[in-house]
């Protein structure tokens, strides 16, 4: 450090630059400036140096060692010897490939294996599909769908009975395979029921439009609208369309039954479907009895009691089956 430069009072100069100088110091400074060209030049230098720091700030400070460490990490330099490429080392290469294959096959299995939901004898359950559609499965039913469900088409396979509430997606039709038929919709709500022995498939539309056809025979489809229903009879291989008059077609799901001058025979059919029990009429004649009433989420015992009182019949359980008898005859 060459402080020997004549008369440079660094302390005073710094005070001048940082505006800490007293009036006396300022006068001394002025005199010193006037004394020589060299003094003025020295001061200019220092002043410019001082001012050049206006353009920077401590926030911009860089820690070079830190940045170099960061660089080394990113470039993969370890211990001075750069770890050129981990995957070029044969053992690791093979291990990596094997792991990859295992991972891929698992992913493939996972992706392509279908998912099936089954319900038990007296179980009703809701299944929410990847697109948000909700399928309420009645007892003894199953719903099968691929894991790739949402991608190309929305396809499911149904056995038993289910109520579908399908999210609307015009770009991806929702297709239900049931026995030999298919039901195709874009978004709507409807019930599909299959009958085990006859294999009959019955579709009832609650809301929207549905197309119903035999698999691979989409050209011969029938289109059902709100309030309509159709059944496909495998023996007759035909579709029969009707206006739905069964207001209880989804009672199994809602547990709400409404009867309006309906025969006991049809009432029993509904009750069976809702409560998953088998009900027999001891005397076939009582099947013709008519009843007008409604039940909102009542248990079976209550329902049978009401029927008993209203129609004059008794109910009895034998071997898990329910038998209805006319009171008149039970004496």
């Amino acid at each position: 450090m060459e402080e020997k430069h004549q008369n440079i009072n660094m302390e005073r100069l710094v005070r001048i630059l940082s505006r800490e100088a007293s009036p006396q110091e300022q006068d001394e400074h002025r005199l010193w400036l006037e004394a020589s060209e060299e003094n003025r030049r020295s001061f200019n230098q220092l002043q410019q140096l001082w001012l050049s720091m206006d353009k920077t700030s401590p926030e911009n400070v860089l820690n070079i060692e830190e940045e170099w460490a960061k660089f080394r990490k990113e470039a993969g330099i370890i211990n001075g010897n750069e770890n050129k490429n981990f995957f070029l080392i044969p053992v690791f290469r093979i291990a990596a490939i094997v792991l990859l294959l295992i991972g891929l096959s698992f992913a493939g299995w996972w992706y392509f294996s279908p998912k099936t939901v089954r319900t038990g004898l007296a179980e009703v359950t809701d299944v929410t599909l990847p697109d948000g559609s909700v399928v309420s499965l009645n007892a003894s039913s199953s719903l099968r769908y691929e894991r790739s469900f949402n991608k190309e088409a929305r396809k499911v396979r149904l056995t038993g009975e289910a109520f579908f509430k399908v999210t609307r997606n015009p770009h991806s039709p929702f297709i239900i395979e049931v026995n030999e038929t298919e039901v195709k919709v874009l978004g709507t709500s409807f019930n599909i029921r299959t009958y085990k022995e006859s294999g009959k498939v019955e579709v009832t539309v609650a809301d929207g439009t549905v197309s119903f056809y035999r698999r691979k025979e989409e050209d011969n489809k029938i289109i059902l609208k709100t309030g309509e229903k159709a059944a496909f009879d495998r023996n007759k291989t035909e579709f029969r369309r009707q206006i739905n008059e069964d207001r209880n077609f989804i009672s199994w799901k809602t547990r709400m039954m409404v009867f309006d001058n309906d025969s006991l025979t049809s009432v029993v059919k509904t009750i069976e479907n809702v409560y998953h029990r088998q009900i027999y009429l001891d005397n076939p004649e009582i099947g013709a009895y008519r009843i007008t009433t409604s039940f909102n989420n009542k248990d079976l015992e209550t329902v049978l009691k009401v029927l008993g009182t209203t129609l004059g019949i008794t109910s009895e359980e034998k071997d898990g089956k329910i038998i209805l008898k006319s009171k008149l005859h039970s004496h």
Partner: protein, 185 residues
């Protein structure tokens, strides 16, 4: 794999990195306005050189290559972020051709880099005092109180800092003249 050659290369690379990194960042910041993007750009340039190291020749001067590479990436960055617009909106960046003005930017960046290298090399108390005064605008009396020292000590340290700065930056003297000229306009 020639380990010895690798070692030598790596040592030279490290030297180059440490020598130019900060000035390259300050240079990039003149175009990109924020330090993080600037650091990122400079890192990317070094990574690119490293990944292509088989083709890198240390015999040729690295400085101009490095600044040119950083400049190009900055321009690409600005272009990608649509900073250039046709109209005369205030956000419009001036496209500065490399030949004309960037040598000034390069030297200014090197100056800034050297300033901080010097400040960081000051003895700790001296550095702290200098930063409090020059960058945080604190008066000598305030600094003295804060650090529990006398005003005279503050004065002495400030003068020491300025001397060291002047000695380290005398190579950039001509820049100071430029600054004088610029401030006159």
């Amino acid at each position: 794999m020639d380990n010895k050659a690798d070692h030598i290369f790596e040592a030279k690379f490290e030297e180059m990195f440490k020598q130019y990194f900060s000035s390259l960042c300050y240079f990039a910041r003149k175009y990109l306005s924020d330090m993080d993007s600037s650091k990122e750009v400079v890192h990317k340039v070094f990574i690119a050189i490293w990944e292509n190291r088989d083709n890198f020749d240390f015999e040729k001067p690295a400085k101009s290559y490095l600044f040119m590479a950083v400049y190009n990436r900055c321009m690409n960055h600005l272009r990608d972020n649509n900073k250039f617009s046709r109209d005369d909106s205030p956000n419009r960046q001036e496209i500065i051709p490399l030949e004309q003005d960037s040598s000034e930017q390069i030297e200014a960046a090197e100056l800034e880099s050297q300033i901080w290298k010097t400040i960081n090399s000051l003895p700790e108390k001296c550095r702290e005092i200098f930063i409090l005064n020059r960058f945080e605008g604190k008066k000598y009396a305030e600094i003295a109180e804060k650090l529990h020292i006398s005003v005279k000590t503050v004065e002495t340290q400030m003068s020491k800092a300025l001397s060291i700065l002047r000695d380290n930056l005398k190579d950039y003297l001509h820049l100071f003249i430029l600054f004088i000229l610029k401030s006159l306009w």
